[in-house]
């Protein structure tokens, strides 16, 4: 919990993208239809645009903030609602001030324009509420609970999970998978997104993958999925600590993207009771140092199992089997 030296606005701040359009020079602007947006996943897929070589995209956005922000007698003045689009790959940050829609000051609306040439693939968009507090202008008094993703390449507005799942027959699949035909699944953490390749050639795999409910196959399905997830967490943890950026004084830095997210999630279980930065230093020095890396492995497994909810699933499986047995006996 962060402590702020000034009063912050409590309550929910939310952001929506209401429309998106793109424009290429000397062509009419194209309004993207609603399939390009997912309000549930909070993603805009600009790859759906039919205009080739569009140069600018304009997003119509709206935000809802607690009415307390603009109530008379509040500690805040000059309240502004600002949408921020950021792409870390291109070091690009675009901001736009929204305008209040109504007297109450809850609904704010505006547009944000961004250049295609400034975005690599995915940018994030968030909303912040800014005000003058105690005579200090520009204080951030609240931010949106969830961000949006603006994807300039994809034609489907999906956020994707932390990892990708591909079902593929290994025997006739990509060359590097052919060497693993006797494995039910393989995790690859090298790419832009970690991927579980599930071997559909493996006997019984398709049945178990499709199984649901509390029957024996359903129980096996759940425990298999949990085990796969644990494998993914272990693989991505190793991949992330294996490729750390190190400061001149030897301090490791948190990476961007999913590698950073994975480390932040797992480190409290791997090196408990330490700050994230200290924990990362500890893990790094054990990995590159003389000793301690081997001893750390059980903790990495433990952290992965917790993320993958192996303990819960295992308990439920055991209870489920017990119940099936009793039903058989009855």
């Amino acid at each position: 919990m962060k402590v702020f030296p000034y009063p912050r606005l409590r309550g929910t701040v939310s952001l929506r993208v209401d429309a998106a359009r793109v424009k290429a020079p000397e062509q009419p602007r194209e309004q993207l239809d609603s399939r390009a947006r997912s309000v549930v996943e909070r993603v805009v897929a600009l790859g759906l645009a039919e205009t080739e070589n569009w140069e600018t995209a304009t997003l119509t956005v709206s935000a809802t903030i607690p009415s307390k922000a603009t109530e008379r007698g509040s500690p805040w003045s000059d309240v502004a609602v600002v949408v921020v689009l950021a792409d870390r790959a291109t070091n690009t940050r675009v901001t736009s001030m929204l305008a209040p829609e109504s007297e109450g000051g809850r609904e704010w609306r505006g547009e944000l324009q961004v250049l295609r040439a400034d975005l690599f693939d995915r940018a994030t968009m968030m909303v912040q509420v800014v005000a003058t507090v105690d005579g200090v202008p520009g204080r951030i008094i609240a931010e949106g609970v969830d961000d949006w993703i603006v994807d300039v390449r994809s034609d489907a507005p999906t956020r994707e999970q932390a990892f990708d799942v591909k079902e593929v027959g290994f025997a006739k699949g990509p060359r590097w998978l052919q060497q693993f035909t006797d494995a039910p699944w393989i995790v690859n953490a090298a790419g832009a997104l970690p991927t579980v390749h599930i071997n559909t050639d493996f006997e019984g795999m398709t049945d178990i993958l499709g199984a649901e409910g509390r029957g024996p196959e359903g129980l096996v399905n759940e425990i298999m999925v949990a085990q796969m997830a644990a494998d993914v967490w272990i693989a991505v943890f190793h991949s992330a600590v294996g490729d750390l950026e190190i400061e001149d004084d030897g301090t490791p830095l948190f990476p961007h993207g999913w590698q950073g997210e994975v480390l932040r999630e797992m480190l409290p279980d791997v090196v408990p009771e330490r700050t994230l930065e200290d924990a990362l230093c500890e893990v790094h020095s054990r990995r590159v140092g003389v000793t301690g890396w081997t001893e750390l492995q059980p903790r990495i497994q433990y952290a992965a199992m917790r993320r993958a909810e192996v303990p819960r699933v295992f308990l439920e499986t055991a209870r489920g089997l017990d119940k099936l047995k009793r039903e058989d006996e009855a």
Binding site: P5, Y6, T90, N91, T92, A117, L119, R139, E245, D248
Partner: protein
């Protein structure tokens, strides 16, 4: 010493990360071996044969930098090279975000420069991230991006100032706060005014400004003008028509509007206050340059 490639194709290419690692050997990192030029070019994926991607002019510029600064510390070449590299290698930000382009420059075009510039005297080796690494570390990406983020519209002078301090490049370049132009310009101004002098000063200032940025929105205090959709496109278009690059005078960047003077000044004043209160390692000791390998 690692030599310049004996064969240079006419155009630049891309070398993917997984291919680049093969060529970053201990022999190269210690400056003893050359890069196998033919193998690098076989693994690389060619870029379109347009004048913008011609690599001869880039190689000439790098040669000039090494010749000009042969009797100085190689770190001093940064301030000279950054604006000129940016001006000759005309890229959109989306293109510059592609690590494969930088990998190729380091391994296919000028591995000798990377060794010359970044061989650590103490460790007798080059940190591999100068060949293949993040934008704020890789030997050419760091120069290009510092020029992109520290230029004020078409004016590269702030880039020279920023790159004259190794900690602006090593620490401040990677901070998200400088993605806001008036913030980047205000930081340079404190260097220019010698309020901030040493590497440690710059480091402390960067950290203080970044920390304050967690509760203050600089974009609101110090607004910037809207980015011009056409200026960079026109500048890149000129590159596609072919460029004649003069090395001696400071080049002129894309004809974008400058950041608002009022915004820069307001932040510069504020940052000077922050800096006055910021803890600086070894403050008051004799000034020294940051160690840079």
């Amino acid at each position: 010493m690692t030599d310049s490639p004996y064969h240079l194709p006419e155009y630049l290419a891309r070398l993917a990360d997984e291919d680049a690692v093969r060529f970053i050997t201990d022999g190269l990192l210690s400056g003893k071996d050359d890069v196998p030029t033919i193998a690098v070019n076989q693994a690389a994926e060619p870029l379109p044969e347009s004048p913008r991607w011609r690599l001869r002019a880039i190689r000439d510029l790098i040669d000039d930098a090494m010749r000009t600064y042969q009797d100085n510390k190689p770190t001093q070449a940064d301030a000279w090279l950054a604006p000129r590299l940016h001006s000759i290698l005309r890229l959109t930000r989306a293109e510059a975000a592609d690590p494969a382009l930088w990998n190729y420059l380091a391994l296919g075009v000028a591995p000798d420069f990377v060794v010359w510039r970044h061989l650590s005297e103490k460790k007798k080796t080059v940190n591999p991230r100068y060949f293949k690494g993040p934008y704020h570390k890789q030997a050419f990406a760091r120069l290009w991006w510092s020029a992109e983020l520290f230029r004020n519209g078409s004016d590269y002078e702030p880039v020279e100032t920023a790159c004259g301090n190794q900690d602006m490049l090593n620490t401040v370049l990677r901070l998200d706060v400088i993605d806001h132009r008036p913030t980047a310009q205000a930081l340079v101004r404190l260097l220019k005014r010698e309020i901030v002098r040493t590497g440690r000063d710059a480091n402390a200032l960067g950290k203080a400004v970044n920390t304050a940025g967690a509760t203050l929105m600089y974009d609101v205090i110090a607004p910037d003008v809207v980015r011009d959709a056409n200026a960079v496109q026109r500048w890149i278009g000129e590159g596609d028509e072919g460029l004649v690059m003069r090395h001696r005078s400071l080049p002129v960047g894309p004809a974008e509007e400058r950041a608002l003077e009022e915004s820069i000044e307001r932040l510069a004043d504020y940052f000077a206050e922050l800096f006055a209160d910021a803890p600086v390692r070894g403050k008051g000791e004799a000034t020294e340059d940051a160690e840079d390998d």
